[in-house]
Symmetry: C2
């Protein structure tokens, strides 16, 4: 496991770096610990999770399945302070090594992860996260229906 899981989150951008390092180590207890107790997360297909426990459990399942060998690489996080204790962190990412339900390798995906970080005592944690896939070449999607 990366030492970053034990590292202090001294600034909001540390959460983005820890998010990817812990993802790639697949330690979902450490992953859950990045979030506040009452954190909320919406994933790229609009699943909406409430609380650190649910976020951790769902990611344990995903990292035992399609994400078990996945690798998340991130660009430098863009940090915007909204107050001294709250910041928005935008993290462009690429996910490689995801597997299809039948176990075959899937292609890479790119996206933008938003973390709303909150200072909790000395450390920053993720209070709200929302993730969106980048679909190149369009401004609005084709409706699924």
């Amino acid at each position: 496991m990366s030492t970053s899981t034990l590292a202090r989150m001294n600034e909001p951008g540390d959460l983005a770096r820890a998010f990817s390092e812990i993802w790639n180590g697949h330690d979902m207890d450490a992953f859950a610990n990045l979030f506040t107790d009452d954190a909320q997360m919406v994933n790229v297909v609009g699943m909406w999770w409430h609380g650190r426990n649910e976020i951790g459990q769902v990611h344990k399942t995903l990292h035992s399945g399609p994400f078990s060998d996945s690798r998340l690489s991130i660009q430098a996080p863009a940090v915007q302070h909204l107050s001294s204790d709250i910041a928005a962190v935008h993290v462009p990412w690429r996910l490689s090594g995801q597997r299809n339900p039948d176990g075959t390798p899937d292609g890479d995906r790119d996206g933008i992860l938003l973390l709303v970080a909150k200072r909790d005592g000395g450390d920053w944690r993720i209070a709200v996260a929302q993730n969106t896939d980048i679909v190149p070449g369009v401004a609005v999607p084709k409706a699924p229906g």
Copy 2:
């Protein structure tokens, strides 16, 4: 134009209601005015806009095209205060009446809009927005590649 465009944004949830009312009135100057000057927005296909001016301009273009007859209906916004002056607002929505590039009607879409609201003087404004389509029946997407 809806009177809500002139109304005060006394609480974070007012922004969600104004967002949909103004969307449906297609007044993108009023729409832009919901945002802080340095707001950031990521749309459902991962386009990332910086600043009220860019957000307003892009939406003027979209509401002269695929969204010109679209109607956004929202469920009750879920408001979580992160501090006295900052709140996360989750807004489940349905968009009807979008048109394809060839002008034909497109199907409905559902999604979840996250607004990070900040009190700016007496009024709340949108500091950060991120939008994600709901893709039913899957936890993770099929990669586009």
